[in-house]
Each structure stands twice: as C-alpha cells, then as structure tokens.
Amino acid sequence: MKTSQKSIAIAAGTILFLLYLSAIFAPWVAPYSYLSQNRGFPDEPPTSVHFTIHKNGTTEFVRPYIYNYVLSDIHSETYRELKDKRYPIEFLTHGKLFYVQGAPIHVLGTDALGRDYFSRLVYGGRISLFIGLIGVGISFGIGIIVGTLSGYIGGIMDTAIMRLTEVIMSLPTFYLLLTLAVVIPAGVSSATTFMLIIVILSFIGWAGFARVIRGMVLSLKERDFVNASRAYGDSTWGIIRKQLVPNLLSYTIVSITLSIPGYIISESALSMLGLGIREPDVSWGNMLSEATNVEALTTRPWMLSSGICIIVTILCLNIIGDYLRATIDPHIH
C-alpha cells in the first residue's frame, strides 16, 4: 500500500467525519433554522465576507465582517451591499459555530423563500447521510444473520432462503420504490416517508449480501478450526459467534462502506422526483430538485452545493472502502 493512497484515505475519512459531525450538530453548525423564511430576501447571493478596510489609501486587516444587503431590483432579484455599517462575524458564541449580530449571514445565499441555503444544507445532511447508515444497519443485520444460518445449518431452510433471495434480487428496486412512493398518501409526514424508504430499501438490500455471506460460511465451515470446535463440543451459536462471524467481519465492513452510497443515491433520486422527502423538510435530494433548471444553475450556481455534497460523500465512502479492502487483512492471506 502506497503512502499516498493512505493519506488520500485519511483525508476522505476526515471529510466524511466532518460531514457526519456537522449533520449531528446541525443546530450548532447552521446559523439559522432550515424552516425560517425571509420572504423579503429571495434568491439572495452568498454574503460577501470582508477581511480588510481601506482608510486613507492604506489597507488594514481586521476581523472578518459583512454588510447588510438590500434588494435593489425586485424583478431581477439584484442585491446591493449597504456599506454604511460593518457587522463583524463572531465565532463560537450564542450557541452557534458562527454568528453575526444585527445582519443576516447567508454563506450560500438564500432560496426562493428566503431560507438560508447553508442551514438547509446542514440539516439536509441529517437525512441524506443517515439514511445510508440506518439502511445498511438493517440490511446487513438481516443479511449476516440469515446468510450465516443458511450457510452453516443448510438443509431445506437454506434452499428456501436462497430461493427467496433470488426472488427479492429479481425485483426492479427503483420502479418498486417509485410505485410505493406514489401509493403512500400525501398526508403522511416526511419522517414516515423517510422511514418507509429506508425499510423498503433494506428489505430488498439484504438479499445479495446474505448470499455472499452464505458462500463464505460454506467454505469457512469446512475449515478445520471449525471442526476442532465441534470436536470439543461448542454449540452452533458458539461456533457462529466465535469462529465464523469474526472471519466475515472484514468483508462486511468493506461492503458496508461500499453500499452506503447506493442508499444515498436512492434517497436523492426519489426526493428529487418529489417522492421522498417533501417540503418543507429538507434533504440533499430535494434541495437538488430546486436546482433542476438552467436559469437557476446559471444565475445561482451555489444551488448545486447539495449535489456537490452528495458527490463528495459518495467519493469519500468509495475511497475508504477501496482502501479498507486493500489493507484490512494484511496478515491473514
């Protein structure tokens, strides 16, 4: 393993860690609530942060500050800085990461309803990032239990489970989800929709993993360390827990890392189509749906930041997964 690969993986891990941290501590990281609207300030561009002041022809560095903005033309949504008063940015006060007294700060601008885009991005990460974790938690939990039992005990149960997984795997997941999402009544809250999406994805997702685990168990159970345990009379459960599962773990960790992106993408795709997380609740997917017209993209490119977050997250997970796969078993083979 080259050192460069290691440092890339560490960088990816750090980015992911920060993303998850900011999602967890969203109320502290985001300057505003993801709900609070300011209709007088729609589609405001990112607030400029200034570090210098010009006095008598010299430039002086001061602590970062911003100006207040006014909407100078309603139709073209043009904004202008009011340079009469400077508002310094304060850090780690008022229970926030950063805070400006007296003027609004929108580091990524506002949306059409005047909601702070950055705050929405931070809160949106909660759903987009955790849908993957909860999803793999459920599907890998089921997968490892079913796959291990199926492989170790065998017999009719094994045959039945394998047929079931084949049926599940032949389902066209995305179309099934689309159908289900349409069927879910409109009155159902976003939280419920969210849970339904996860549960449905997980109950489809376990099958492929269970089959791989079963295959590994079939080969593991022929190994003589398992036979030795049988010879001293360990129980089926004891053998599964002590001899089999630890040998399945490295594969599991790698494939968990590599399957989280699938959940994130599914959520984004559904939410983008308006079938997942719905307004006013927020996820990266439904934020991205607002950025789906050329006019928005050309005049307000910062609206793409949710898409960038999705891409960065998936990229980081893939880098880490590949790195783990290459390094997790240095001394076993």
């Binding site: 360390f225 001899q243 001394h331």
Partner: protein, 314 residues
Amino acid sequence: MSLIRIQDLKVYYTGHGLFRKQSVTKAVDGVSLFVNDHETLGLVGESGSGKSTLGRAALLLIKPTAGSILFDGVDIVNAAVHKNRPAMKKFRREAQIVFQDPYGSLNPRMKVGKIIADPLRVHGVRGRKVLKEKALRLLELVGLPASAYDTYPYAFSGGQRQRISIARALSIGPRFIVADEPVSSLDISIQAQLLNLFKEIQEKEGVSYLFISHDLRTVAFIAHRVAVMYLGRIMELAQTKELITGPLHPYTKLLLSSIPSKDRRTTDQKEQANGHEHGCVFYPRCGLAKDICMDISPDLKEVSPGHSVACHLY
C-alpha cells in the same frame, strides 16, 4: 476394556454427478479396531485410503453410515442420534483431534490464548485469571513461549501452529486424541521434535492416540500397534515390531519396501470400482493374487495372538 472400540464402521460419500448416476465412495468400509488406555494405535495407508474419514468419523465429525463406536463402554453413535447430552458432553471433553493442515486448523481471527482456552470455556471453566493460567501452562507444556498468548496465529510457523493445536486439544484433559497426519506437512527435523512431543505428552498425561500417517516410519516410531488401511479397509493389524519385522499382507510388504519413497502412489476409489466390487480391494495391484481374490473379499482374521490380516493367503 478398551477406551474406544470401533465396530464395523462404514462411511460412504454420495456424490451427485451432473451427467452420471449417483456415485458412492466407500471411504471407510467395515472397519473394526480398538485403542486401549495410554496406547497409540498407528493408522497407515496411502493417501485416499480413508484414514482421515475414519479418524473424523471416530469423533463424529462425519456421520457414520453404519457401525458403532463405543467410547468408554458407551455407544456414542447412539448417544448422538438420541441427543443424550451428558454422554455427548463427556465424549466431547474426552476425545479430541489434531489436524494435518497447520494453517486451516487455527482461526486466524483469534489470539492464541483464546484459541487454547476456548475448549475450557465451552466446558464451563470460568474466570479470566484461571483461564489464562491454564492457557499459559499449556503453552509451556507444548514448548511455546508465554508471549504466544497474546499473538495471532499468523506469527507462527507450521510446527509452532501444530503445537498450538496440540495445546488446544489437551486443554480439557482428554483421554483420546486423533492425530490426523499432524507432522506430514512439516520439515523432517521439525517432524522429529513434534513426534517426541506427542510421546512426552503421552507419558505425562496418559492420553491414547489414534495416530494417522501415510508414512510407515513415522507410525512405527510412535505407535504401539499399527493398522494398515487400504481403500476403506484394514489390511493388517499387529504390534509395531511384529508388523515391521514380519509383515504378512502383500500391501504391508509393499509399504515396507517403498521406505523411503518420495513418490507415494495415490490410490483412488476408481480402482475399486473397476469391477472389483466383490473381491479383495488390493487385487488389482497384488502380485500374489489367487482366483478366489477376484470374487471374495477376505475378512480380517487373527492369525496369531494380536496379529490380524485380511488376505486369502493366510
């Protein structure tokens, strides 16, 4: 009374050919033998003769097709079928195994200390300190440093791994150990050390061995009595010295004459299937065969006290 007595044991493997009809491999076909307390019975034969199958079936790691196994007077095949827990628990504590492959027989994800102590845990020994103490004593017994306790198996050579396997087998104080070619995959110099360790342990702990090897010299060095196996059957069984100095069976003579030999011949069940289903299994390779050998399989008969042979010549 013998510690373990195997009677007319049969283990058949059924293969499911894709295009052929079901094929049956008679890996063990009517074997009877016994091992006494503090005794080593050697089991020798070319690769493929069914030694491992016999050894594993003796510990019920493979389900016998037919026959009985009496351990300390109790029929454990029956006990297993009828889920007689106390009898099985005693059997699982008193009969252990050491395998041939030093790499496959240790869990790569478990530290050596845990590997050795696990049988104790399974049999109800509790307490970290007690377990660790016992594991350290076992490491010393098999000649490994105490530092092995906290190490994963990858750090050890083949010979050291076999010592770990021996320690694991010994941990719960067994009376009977099946040693299935435990030295065959090791260098000659290390083989000798391990064979001596097996002997030493027998003197100290008083265990019995069913010691399996394809190498007659290895078996002759360690065993009190030797059984010669060929294609699922016992060809000859005698005191070691008697077998070496006065072999009766043509197959035993062949094994003795081929010492030392690198190119062991591997026997195959197909030879047996080649139209000799009724006769002596050794018939296709026997230079002394008579007419009767082709049709009638010879029984294992005692020709002198403690010396049995399965051959129509005797």
